[in-house]
Symmetry: C2
Subunit: 274 residues, 2 copies
């Protein structure tokens, strides 16, 4: 599996390249999913497809046949471990924002190498200056309008800073640029509510159930005062946080326990447990 | 000139198709310009290029050589009247939001037929339910994150409604889905200030200077109480508004005068003056 493994489809048909006038390219008029593969399988396929369905309903984008997409994905993966990305756009359209009524969706599968292993001592985070705008109509779904995340991630290049936390325009803490956030207070786990901005992550959904976590608006001081912090996403699993600016945390047994539980349920993450 | 006239470039090189892993498709990580062409020339080229430069600076995207782009655009237009669209993306990148440091931009030129003539009596507008999120970091530039406009334009299919006015999340009137807005009060023209959302249009810039218009936050009641209203964009020029819901306006001599002035300065619009 190499970086160049990409396959394009329009509706049910395999095609050589992206269509001209693709609304994904023109307007970010699409959705994506980033999935961890294990020996050619995608253990969280159902969770990813459900989120894609929710997004397609919000945007009014036609979905290709699930079995067809999954079959093509498994063919592309060819037994490999790594990351599978699916982009789904509304398809080709003329000039103008009005969505064509009969558009056939364009979908793209690409296979990527495993993400780099996380540092054993935990991640080092920073606060981002870029804020997330409040847009309830698009909150939660994994759409392709990601300039805010691009600007936030462009704020640093130091490789020793692994991720950045982003706040909403109103100052509440939402997530990292490419991961969800959990914090521990008084033996209860909390994750920011994703109702006005941010992405409702697939690993976040799993971790909320595993931890019986609550959703709430979190302030900067809530995060800094937490007993333990971790990030999570579907490509990298549970990521303990060691530092946030000048604040530091020791490894916490509840985070290690959650990593073991994830490894037991989702074998791709088994190799990463200390 | 037909709908399928599309040319792709990466850096200085002409290529057959969009590159794999294009960040425009992945994240809407790009900018665009929609320009009116007249006999193969683009009279407002300089205004469009300046806005593209501003956007590229905000996003940190490399610009191709202006003379090269303009030469290719004129070659594509081949003497025609119509609409020229330029999309500029950051180019290809790996997985992840971090912008590659050495990305070569992907740019796409496409030629489109003239837009349909506007109704002689003026446009009929509606209010959109979709609100624009407040994001000062992206306000004004014509970036490719346009899902809000897609959702707003998807609110109606009635061909007798020509455009929709959109408000910000705080309720102030920003623009139409694909045009800027001007209103007349007490013999002074006002257009919404574009500092938190919306696009600072090229025709808006021209009209502001021509009318000595001021920028302000406008409420719904300001628009409904106006003596005259028009929309404008660079593809269609000055568009008198006849109706907004139950409110209607007669043709106003100042709008007709502005149309004549635009026709005198920008010959593509000469044929559309009554």
């Amino acid at each position: 599996m190499n970086e160049a493994s990409v396959r394009h489809f329009i509706g049910e048909a395999a095609v050589a390249t992206a269509p001209d006038h693709d609304r994904g390219l023109a307007y970010g008029d699409g959705l994506f999913e980033t999935m961890r593969s294990h020996r050619g399988d995608v253990p969280w396929w159902n969770r990813h497809w459900r989120r894609l369905q929710r997004g397609a309903q919000v945007l009014g984008i036609a979905l290709p046949d699930e079995d067809r997409v999954r079959g093509e994905a498994e063919g592309l993966l060819d037994g490999a471990d790594g990351v599978l990305k699916l982009i789904l756009t509304r398809g080709a359209g003329g000039r103008g924002y009005a969505p064509p009524q009969q558009a056939r969706p364009h979908w793209v599968l690409s296979a990527h190498p495993l993400p780099p292993a996380s540092p054993i001592e935990g991640l080092s985070l920073r606060w981002c200056e870029t804020r997330l705008a409040l847009q309830p109509a698009l909150a939660g779904i994994k759409h392709c309008n990601r300039l805010e995340q691009v600007l936030a991630r462009a704020e640093w290049q130091d490789p020793d800073t692994h991720e950045g936390l982003v706040r909403s325009m109103e100052g509440d803490v939402v997530s990292a640029t490419a991961a969800n956030l959990f914090i521990l207070h008084d033996d209860h786990w909390t994750t920011p509510v994703i109702d006005r901005c941010g992405v409702a992550g697939v690993c976040r959904e799993w971790a909320m159930a595993a931890l019986d976590a609550r959703q709430a608006r979190l302030a900067v001081t809530d995060v800094e005062a937490a007993q333990a912090v971790f990030l999570c996403n579907a490509a990298r699993g549970i990521l303990p946080v060691a530092r946030l600016g000048v604040r530091s945390w020791r490894p916490h047994p509840q985070v290690a326990q959650l990593q073991r539980r994830l490894a037991a349920e989702h074998p791709a993450f088994a190799t990463e447990v200390a």
